[in-house]
């Protein structure tokens, strides 16, 4: 079986567009618009019908989200950077939704480097703005010659690599999740066909396996032995599926449910933690740039 891991699908290509030349509408863009629509709908839903007293459960959640966001930004940057609350919140929620939308089987926009690079460039512009504001344009340029002028290329590189490393960190984690998910899926598909073609080659063997499994399951339940109970379930399910395969329904059964277990880490945990790390770095870099 061949496994191919690709980037975003190109849905449409427009040639000879003024200024841009060839414009490709990719899955990344379309799903980003979907994410934009989802978040906007969520915001409008959470933000309407607010009351000062006697608040609803929905409003309590909305206020909790707002308070956590404000606390996060103030905790990392201090109260003088309150105007970056919307930016940090937007990047966070867009990142989370973009990462988790892959759970619905939709292409994740954050698996395209351009998405993270767009955010990182915005952050980079802010960092540079704050550095220039803090020490003047002369001081900013002079900073590259620090401690001696020979190091200027390295300093310029380290400056440019701030957004690139931010973007690549996020992108790499999401992409690795996608790649590993694809690999696991492919491996399970192969394993599943191999297993059930073997088991289902004989109807009698499959039925016997199912019956033995059922018997072990009942014994384990009666004697309250967990090991026998679980073994029985496994054997019975395998037997029944083998019978179904033998009757002509050829499906990679092992890909049902099992990929959800690694996905718990790579999609849920990884997705949330990367969104959090990106926002933390955004706040810390801006704070650092303004503080020097």
């Amino acid at each position: 079986m061949e496994v191919s891991i690709n980037g975003a699908r190109i849905l449409a290509t427009f040639e000879n567009v003024p200024i841009f030349g060839t414009v490709q509408i990719t899955q990344t863009l379309v799903v980003s618009w979907l994410v934009l629509a989802i978040i906007s709908a969520l915001c409008i839903w959470l933000g309407h019908g607010l009351k000062v007293t006697g608040i609803s459960r929905k409003q309590a959640v909305a206020e909790m989200i707002y308070t956590s966001l404000v606390n996060f930004v103030r905790g990392n940057m201090g109260p003088e950077f309150d105007r970056y609350i919307p930016l940090v919140g937007t990047i966070f929620v867009t990142s989370i939704v973009s990462n988790l939308i892959s759970l619905l089987g939709i292409w994740s926009p954050t698996a395209d480097l351009m998405t993270e690079l767009a955010w990182a460039l915005v952050v980079f512009v802010l960092i540079t703005y704050h550095k220039i504001k803090a020490s003047g344009i002369g001081g900013y340029l002079k900073g590259f010659l620090d401690p001696i002028f020979v190091l200027a290329p390295i300093n310029i590189m380290s400056e440019l690599f701030t957004p690139i490393s931010m973007a690549c960190r996020h992108f790499g984690n999401i992409l690795s999740g996608t790649v590993i998910g694809t690999l696991i899926y492919a491996a399970l598909t192969t394993a599943s066909y191999a297993l059930f073609h073997k088991l289902g080659s004989s109807l009698i063997a499959a039925v016997i396996l199912a019956v033995i499994g059922g018997a072990v399951l009942l014994y384990g339940k009666k004697a309250k032995k967990k090991l026998f109970f679980i073994l029985g379930i496994v054997a019975a399910v395998l037997g029944v599926l083998a019978v179904i395969t033998n009757l002509g329904v050829d499906y990679p059964w092992l890909t049902v449910g099992i990929p959800a277990i690694p996905s718990l880490y790579f999609d849920w945990f990884g997705g949330c933690i990367q969104a959090f790390i990106f926002c933390t770095l955004t706040t810390l870099f801006i704070k650092q740039a303004a503080g020097d």
Binding site: I5, N6, G7, A8, R9, I10, T13, F20, V23, Q24, T26, T28, L29, S32, W33, L36, I39, S40, C43, I44, L46, G47, H48, L50, K51, V52, T53, Q59, A62, E63, Y66, L69, I85, P86, L87, G89, T90, I91, V93, T94, P109, D112, L113, M114, T115, L117, A118, W119, L121, V122, L175
Partner: protein, 169 residues
């Protein structure tokens, strides 16, 4: 139509620019429809809370002022009452003293009048007794001398007798 894929890592300027635009559009929507609204509500609630606290403080100080005035009034009233009581006591004392002295004066007057009356009664009684005694003495003397004495002698005799008698009375 064949499905065409990008490679895993592609630099696509159009996507990059579009994503930057998306970020700003999303930023505006999040800010206008969510963050600003929640912030306004939280600010309103804080203002309301501040106002309530200020109102409570004002009510408390007002109550304290009223209490202060009341206590002040009570102190004044008590002082007035004490004053009144004292004045009344003084008046009563003065009045009673006056009454007593008047009574004493009246009693003294009555006493002196009574003793004057007694004196007069006594004199009157003595005079009556003198007349009585002189008549009695005349009768006794007439019996004793039986017309040997003249009227002039008689009277001389009687007067002398009476003077001696009067000295002894």
């Amino acid at each position: 139509m064949d499905t065409i894929y990008q490679s895993l890592v592609t630099v696509n300027p159009v996507t990059l620019i579009a994503q930057i635009c998306n970020l700003f559009i999303q930023l505006l929507i999040v800010k206008i429809f969510f963050l600003d609204k929640i912030k306004a509500i939280l600010d309103q609630r804080r203002e309301a809370a501040d106002k309530q606290i200020a109102d409570a403080e004002a009510a408390k100080s007002e109550a304290n002022a009223i209490k202060e005035t009341y206590e002040q009034n009570m102190r004044v009233a008590k002082a007035k009452a004490d004053d009144l009581l004292l004045t009344a006591q003084k008046t009563a004392t003065a009045r009673s003293e006056e009454i007593i002295s008047q009574a004493q004066a009246a009693a003294a007057q009555i006493k002196s009048k009574a003793s004057a009356d007694i004196e007069m009664e006594k004199k009157k009684a003595i005079n009556d007794a003198k007349d009585e005694i002189s008549g009695l003495a005349m009768a006794i003397a007439g019996k004793v001398v039986e017309r040997e004495l003249t009227v002039a002698d008689q009277e001389q005799l009687i007067d002398r007798f009476l003077d001696e008698l009067g000295d002894n009375v």
